[in-house]
Each structure stands twice: as C-alpha cells, then as structure tokens.
C-alpha cells in the first residue's frame, strides 16, 4: 500500500472473558476509538483470539476494506503472532497491525474502573495514531547451518549432544575441564532412587567420547561468538594439554611417577593429584593433561619424569594453546552451576573445625572412588556417632541467595540415608521446610523419616566446639531453635554437613556478553518466557538447558537438554528460518559518516564504507534492537516499525486522549 493511500483502521477490543471487561468499560473504549480519525469500524468481542474472534476481523477486513488493524487485548507477546496471521490470511501485510495491551498494562494493574477505562482509551488512541504510519515490511529467510554447539559437558550438555548426534547431525561439545561428566560424576548415589550416579552417567560419557557425530573439545572454552540464528561463528580456545592424546595409550605410568602433589579439584581438595593427571578414573577422554601452574618442568625446567616413562612419547612440553573456528546453526548453553560458598560457612565452623563439610565434599567422602573409598569417616579416621545436616546454607536467605536451590532438601535426605546405612550414626536434619515435590520424592522423605532420622524444624544459628557440659566435650555443638517446639537447642555431634545451595557457574558474564543473553538478579540466564519458552532465550538460535537458567535436579536437567535438542533439530529440519523484518536501515542521503553507530551496535552489523564515507548496515546481522537509531545524531539510521514519527505519533495519541 502506498504511504499516502487513505488508511482505513479497524479497532477490535477484547473482553478476555472478564479479565479486561471487569475493570475496563469496553463500550466506552469502542466508542472513543470509533471517533478517531481514520477508524472505519470499532467492535468488541468476548475472546478476540478465539476462532470466531479471528473470523470477525477477517470478515471486517473484507467488508470494510480495512488496511490497518488494532486489537486491544493482552500483551503482544501472547497474541501478536495470532493476529498477524489473520492479516496475512486476509492478504494484508502483517506489519499493518498494532496491539494495544489493555490487560497486563491496564486491567490487571488497577481496580479503579474509571482510571482503567481512561488508560485503555489512551493506549488505543496511541495505537490508532501509530498504526496509520505503519509501513509494509517484507519477511526475510536465512539458511540454517546444520551443526550445533553445546557449551558445557555435564549431564545436561552430554544429553543434548547425544540427542542431536543420534539424530545424525554434527555436534561440537565444549567443556572447560579435561573431562566431561560435570557435577554428576562427583556424586555416588542419586535421589530418590539411590541408583549409582557413575553407573548411569559413564555409559553416556563413553557414547559422547566415541560418537562419530560429536567433536568433543575438552580443556576448552568458547571465547567469541558472532553471527545470528543459523549462522554462528564461534571461536574455541583449547588450553595446552602438553600430552599428545593421539599418541597417549592411557597407561597411567606418567601419573604414578609425577612427584607433584596438589589438591584435587574433583575430590573437592580432600585428595591429592599430580601435575599430570586425569580428572577422575572414568574420565572421557581418559587421557591425562599437565597442569602448567604446578608442573616442575614447566615452571623450573626440572623433572621431566613423565616424559622419561612415557613409552609412546606422548608428552609434549612445547604444546601451546590453540584456537579453533567453527560455524554452527544454533548453540545450546549448558554451563551448569557451582555449589555456593557463602561467607556464613565460617559461622558454621567450616574451615575451622575438622569435621564440618560442605555438600560436595561429603559427596566425595561418600563416593566409592573417593578419598575414603566410600567410607564415611571423620578426619581422624574414626566413624561418626552422630551427624547433623544443616539445610539452606546460603539459600532462602536475604543476606545471600533469596531463592530456593531446590535440590538441597532431597540430597540432604539422601545424605541421611547414606549416613544411617553406612555408619548407623544418629542423624539430625535441621530444615526450614522440606521441599519434596517431584516424582517419588515425598515417598523418599517418608522413607527417611522411618529410618529414625531426627527432623528439627529450625535454621541453625552456629556451630561451636566450646562445651557447656561433659556430653558436649570433644564434640561439635549445633546451636539452633526448634521452631515447632519453641525451644532453643544445643545438639552435640561428630560431623556437620552443610547443605550448600546452587549458584550460577563462573564465567556467566562472558557467556552473557558473547551470546547476548540476559541474566536475572541471581545470575541465572533469563528464559524467553518463564512458562512457555523455558529453554529459549531472547537471542534466536541460542538455547539454555540445565542449571544455567536456575537450579534443577537431574531429571529436569535431562528433560531440558532434550527440549533444547528438539529446538536445535527443529531448526536443522526446517533448513531456513524467518527473521524479523523490523531491522534498522541507514539513509545514505542523511548519513554523515560520524561513525557513532558503529561501536554501539551489539551485533557488529554496521561497517564504515570508506569510499562513500558513510556507515553501511548488514540487514542479515541486524536484530532490530534500535540502538543505532537512538544513537544516530541526525536521523540517518532508523529502526523499521519503530521510527521516530511512529513513536511520536503514538505518544501524542496517548497524551492527547
């Protein structure tokens, strides 16, 4: 439609059942709309998004030759697409549509009928003034590159990679550590079934290691991402391993000979490892790497024992960090979590008393491949007679993390069971609330209660070793309040386990920058929609799985991994994707080449053309964020569908009515 053709606006006001109509006087809104310039028809209906509602719009477009449509209803995030399709069906360009949000931004935020009706009229008037300036925009398609990048090699990343690889597509799996496996590899048992963590995880790890469609890059990190949905260019940096994995036979002689002993990260510092080491015995790849910070050869050029004993000659002290460039169509972020180490740990004696452990430390203590071969022992080698498990350490606490870490109640119950089973010790669980929502979780709670575990409702204040009586001598005394009994308690125990919460993993800031993701106040990635798009993000083609978007247990993490795999496979099978037409453009007649827009573009979509002396915008890279339009000092860069005149007209409409 030509710009100067007379605009014929149709306004459709939705009752949304009673969601809108109980607060907004719909008749008044319809009447006010019908009096606006350019409005040919104004109507209302109980559910505009229903089939009869859509058909009503369709019929009116035909009957009244409407060329601009306004629906005053809910948020455009919910139904903009629905109504754009109606316009498309009617043969109109979908961008000749504007939604006035009179539900979330109006009816739901006040009970004052008069104010709500006034605001609805304002929003509708703004929309009418705006829609008259809307222009026809073409839809664009881009090809999808078939590869997928998965960042993070925990259970989530492993599952996502396997699903895609099994479907016959190439996956690059990038893991920061020398082996995949993540936190799940550190655990001995999983709740509520108490099946062996390694037994269910290692087969999957091995599948990843041998899968012809998976390019596994361990000791590697993503350092740069550019591009857009279907075409992401990714740079991966691989640390120097100093061991040629093509030659290494995994014999382990080098690790035996290494004279260096440093705390093992995998064993939470409870055990030592050499400077040449594998993360854990079942690691994938199961080949050692040299830790450059601790290797005597690399620090002082002394030693070299590993090189001497290595028969195949796999040790290579000249190995250097490498950069690899890959192109993929979509990216699955499965960067997981880390256990919180809040400063209050010291109030509970952590780092001061020998037998105060954090949850991940206890997991290692309890693991049959761990430092005690799975025996739950005190520092002096003795068996604990009594153990206290303190819930919500750093979680549900205004001073630390306000959120519930979701898995701690269940793993604490698991700990109780394991302590009971292995030591027969008396167990005290200090909890605020037991959160056991999940399949067979409540039943597991019941089972543990029947195992004679003492459940004390109350958050622990502190742990001390100062005895007040003989019974407390030589013990750790847990000081708490039993809020059900209204009593202050002192409970002497031999071991204290701190059920620390889950936090976003390190390096999230870099990921946020590279992938253009947003994080919430707690540092977790924000979903595209918390309910309806929990594994998608605001950046098309970037998906989030597992704990990087918030604490999850293993089944949830796996389910989200499978969901993201489905997302990535959907893109691959479509082959092409429609991208927003609401990009920016630069008017060459006005651009003065001041270059202000170039640095502000978050998608590197603008380049300077030396010959013409102006900035040039690559529309395929442009996401239509409008930053360049806001920055452009003389109106040369403009955001389609959000140009100054459209916005000013909308503001004017809102203010004048």
């Amino acid at each position: 439609m030509a710009r100067n053709e007379e605009s014929r606006v149709g306004v459709f006001v939705c009752h949304c059942g009673v969601n809108i109509s109980s607060v907004v006087n719909i008749d008044k809104v319809v009447q006010a709309a019908s009096q606006q310039e350019g409005v040919v028809v104004a109507k209302d209906y109980k559910f505009m998004c229903s089939t009869p509602g859509q058909e009503m719009i369709l019929a009116d477009i035909k009957e009244h030759k409407l060329n601009r449509i306004i629906v005053a209803a809910c948020s455009p995030r919910l139904h903009e697409e629905t109504f754009k399709k109606v316009l498309f069906t009617a043969g109109l360009n979908p961008y000749f549509f504007q939604m006035a949000n009179i539900r979330e931004q109006d009816a739901w935020v006040t009970e004052d009928k008069e104010l709500a009706t006034g605001k609805a009229i304002s929003l509708v008037t703004g929309a009418i003034r705006r829609v008259r300036l809307h222009e026809s925009l073409p839809t664009r398609e881009v090809d999808i590159k078939p590869g997928v990048l998965v960042i993070g090699g925990g259970i989530t990343g492993i599952e996502a990679a396997l699903q895609i690889a099994d479907a016959g597509h190439k996956v690059v799996l990038v893991e920061r550590e020398p082996s995949i496996g993540g936190h799940m590899a550190q655990f001995d048992k999983t709740f509520p079934t108490l099946d062996c963590s390694a037994c269910i995880l290692t087969p999957k790890m091995n599948s990843v290691g041998t899968h012809p469609n998976i390019n596994l890059m361990t000791s590697s990190e993503v350092t740069d991402v550019s591009g857009y949905i279907g075409n992401y260019d990714v740079t991966v940096k691989t640390k120097a391993r100093f061991v040629n994995h093509d030659l290494c036979t995994s014999c382990g002689d080098c690790m035996e000979k290494c004279p260096v002993k440093v705390p093992s990260e995998f064993d939470e510092g409870l055990e030592k490892r050499g400077a040449i080491y594998t993360l854990f015995p079942q690691g994938v790849p199961n080949k050692p790497v040299i830790d450059a910070e601790n290797c005597l050869m690399l620090i002082k050029e002394k030693c070299g024992l590993c090189e001497k004993v290595c028969e195949p000659g796999a040790i290579d002290f000249k190995d250097r960090e490498k950069e690899t460039s890959i192109t993929v169509g979509s990216i699955i972020t499965a960067t997981g979590y880390k256990f919180a180490k809040p400063s209050i740990l010291r109030d509970y004696g952590y780092g001061i008393f020998d037998n105060v452990l954090t949850a991940p430390e206890f997991e290692r203590l309890n693991n049959s491949a761990g430092p005690t071969v799975g025996e739950i022992l005190l520092k002096d080698g003795g068996k604990p007679q009594s153990v206290a498990i303190l819930h919500c350490i750093g979680s549900r606490d205004k001073n630390f993390n306000e959120y519930c870490s979701k898995v701690c109640c269940m793993y604490s119950l698991k700990f109780s069971h394991l302590v009971k089973e292995k030591t027969g010790a008396e167990v005290f669980e200090f909890y605020i609330d037991i959160r056991a929502a999940g399949k067979s979780y409540e039943e597991f709670y019941d089972r543990i209660r029947e195992e004679d575990v003492h459940f004390i409702r109350g958050k622990v204040g502190s742990v001390t070793n100062i005895p007040l009586n003989d019974e407390e001598k030589g013990k750790l005394v847990v000081i708490a309040e039993n809020t059900l009994a209204g009593k202050r308690l002192r409970v002497p125990v031999d071991m204290v386990i701190l059920s620390t919460g889950l936090e976003c993993s390190d390096g999230v800031t870099d990921m946020t920058r590279m992938l253009k993701l947003s994080i919430d106040k707690d540092g977790f990635f924000i979903e595209k929609h918390p309910k309806l798009a929990p594994t998608e993000t605001a950046t098309d083609g970037i998906y989030i799985a597992g704990c990087c978007s918030g604490p999850k247990d293993i089944p949830e993490s796996v389910a989200s991994a499978q969901a993201t795999a489905a997302m990535a496979l959907k893109l691959i099978s479509k082959g092409k994707v429609e991208v927003e037409a609401t990009t920016s453009w630069i008017n060459e007649e006005l651009c003065a080449g001041c270059k202000l827009c170039i640095g502000v573009c978050p998608y590197n979509a603008i380049e300077y053309d030396e010959e013409k002396g102006i900035s040039i915008l690559n529309e395929v890279l442009c996401k239509g964020c409008g930053t360049c339009a806001a920055t452009c000092p003389n109106g040369a860069a403009m955001a389609r569908h959000f140009n100054d005149q459209q916005i000013l007209n909308e503001i004017e409409g809102v203010l004048l009515s």
Binding site: E589, L590, C591, A592, G593, C594, K595, L596, I598, G599, V600, Y608, G613, T627, A630, T631, C632, P633, N634, G635, A636, D644, L648
Partner: protein, 321 residues
C-alpha cells in the same frame, strides 16, 4: 530596473547578525545598488511609524534576526510579516531561539529577580521589578511586556526561509542576497538556506574512530585538542553530529573548536539537545551508575551545552513551576 525593497530587523539578539551583514564588506555597495533599505535599526534611522504606513507586502524581503522575547519583538514580527513578501528568519536566535532561549530553562519571575534584584552589581533595595505599565504623577509609562518564554520567529509568524548561524556566514549571506537580487527562482518555502541536510560530520575532515568510547568529558579550556582527530574521540563534546553542515567549518576547522550547534538541527531531528544526549549516552564507557554520574558531572552545564542554540524548539519547553 526597480530596486528591491529590503527590511532588516533585530528582535532579541546581540547585534552580531547585523554586523555579519556588514562583513560582506564592499559587496554591501552592490546591495545598496540593488536594494532600497526601508528599515535597519542598527545602521540607519527609520521609525516604526514609517513601516506601518507602507502598503501590505510592500517590502520584497525582510531579514529578521533575533528571538521573540517581549511584546515589542512580537509586534514587529507581525508587522513586518504583513508588510513583506518574503520573510527570512536570519541567524540562530530567529531560527531556533539561540542564546536568549536558554532563559527558557527558568521562568519569568526567576529571571527578573536575578537581573533586577539578586545580581551582584545591582543596588535595588526596594526590589523594583519592571512592569509593562507604571503609573506616575503625570501619566502612565509603558514598556513592552516581558514574556514568560522565548519563541523562535516561526513560532510567532509564518516564515518563508531560514538562514541559520550565529552569526550566519558572510559568504552565505551574500549568496542569499545575490539570489534574491538576481531574481532567479527561489527554493521551496521553508527551506533552510546555505545549510546541508547532512550533519557537519559529513564535511569535517577529522579522523573518526570506529568504536567511539567516552571515558571522560574533557573541556576545551583545559587542553589543546589534536587538530586531526574527531573531538568526540578526544572526550570533547562536539555538537557537529546533531548540527547541519554548510557553515564552512568555521569552528571545527578554522578555529579548532568543537561545534556548538549554531546551524541548527538536521531536517529529520526534532530536538537537538535530546538527540545529542541520546547519541552520547551509548558512548559512555562504563556500566556502573556511579561512574557514569561521575563522567556526566565533568560537564557542569549539560542543558546549556546541548541546547545552546535550540532551546525554544525543544520538547523540554521551559522550566515548569
């Protein structure tokens, strides 16, 4: 050939625009040959009454400089509009309010108090503030009424052409006068004459960085700027990006001073200062609110800097009570 009937008038202005006309030097004689000047208060003695006597549209052209600050300015603007075939808004003050319009950041009471009561050099114990009418024994004395805000000429009367600049460049003035004298076809009504549609950066030859970042606002009186590099890249606020080109780069090239914005806003921009704020904000090299405030505080008068010549055109209107 009959002579062109010309009027030149100043409203709220400093007189610089009138002097700029004289800066065309000996060409002023050509103007005199071609035109008959009926009004030019700064240079020649005429009475308002003489203008009132003229037939409507008698003047072929009036060059009107200065903003509309009081009732006299408005009265003369309306009178000259009626008497002129072509009304030219001449200079920054008439075009977009200019320096006088910076007073729109205050209201009338603030201004009169400051000038007549509070200013350090004033002795006015009775706190007398001028009013339009003052009763004295013999009669009632009248002076023009001081308005609550400053208007641009086009906000008061219909304007045919705009010649921007503080003051307009003498070469441009001569081009305008020559065009009128030659009798050639005039550009479309509303044109801004002698200015380009692109911003000043288009003509500026200074080297510009691709990724502009401002970590510090520096001030021109505290440094000697590099003559080859974009002022913004040196942390100096230059209004070139939000200002029309065509001025001949008098400041940025010949005087090595950042542009102050006198050529007015480019055609697609509706608020010069707001646009400059919008353009600068993403360049600030920090995400920390405290650091950002610290950077902004390095420039003590942002409103005055960004709206130096365009306050009467701003959405900000003026200080609200």
């Amino acid at each position: 050939m009959s002579k062109l009937n010309l009027g030149i008038y100043w409203a709220a202005s400093c007189g610089g625009c009138d002097v700029a006309i004289l800066d065309i030097h000996e060409k002023i004689l050509d103007v005199n040959d071609a035109c008959r000047i009926h009004l030019w208060p700064i240079a020649m003695d005429f009475k308002y009454e003489d203008i009132k006597e003229l037939e409507d549209s008698f003047l072929d052209v009036t060059l009107f400089n200065g903003a509309i600050r009081n009732s006299e300015n408005e009265e003369l603007a309306r009178l000259l509009r009626r008497k002129s075939k072509v009304m030219v808004s001449f200079g920054s003050c008439a075009h977009t309010g200019g320096i006088p319009a910076l007073a729109n950041l205050y209201d009338k009471t603030d201004l009169l108090n400051r000038v007549y009561v509070e200013s350090e050099s004033t002795v006015n114990p009775e706190k007398i503030i001028p009013t339009p009418k003052t009763e004295v024994e013999e009669s009632c004395l009248e002076i023009p009424e001081f308005y609550d805000r400053v208007y641009s000429l086009a906000q008061v009367v219909d304007v045919d052409y705009f010649v921007p600049g503080c003051p307009p460049n003498p070469e441009r003035i001569w081009e305008v006068l020559e065009l009128i004298i030659s009798g050639k076809e005039l550009p479309p009504k509303g044109s801004v004459i002698g200015a380009t549609n692109k911003s000043l950066c288009d003509e500026c030859e200074r080297e510009k960085k691709d990724d502009k970042k401002i970590a510090e606002f520096r001030r021109i009186d505290r440094m000697i700027p590099d003559p080859e590099i974009c002022f913004l890249d040196q942390g100096l606020i230059c209004l070139g990006p939000v200002t029309r080109g065509g001025c001949g780069l008098q400041c940025v090239k010949q005087s090595a001073m950042p542009c102050r914005g006198c050529y007015g806003l480019p055609p697609d921009i509706s608020d010069q200062g707001a646009k400059m704020i919008s353009s600068l904000a993403p360049l600030i090299d920090s995400n920390d609110p405290d650091k950002i405030k610290e950077i902004l505080d390095q420039q003590p008068d942002l409103a005055g800097y960004f709206y130096r010549f365009s306050m009467s055109e701003s959405y900000l209107e003026r200080k609200k009570p």
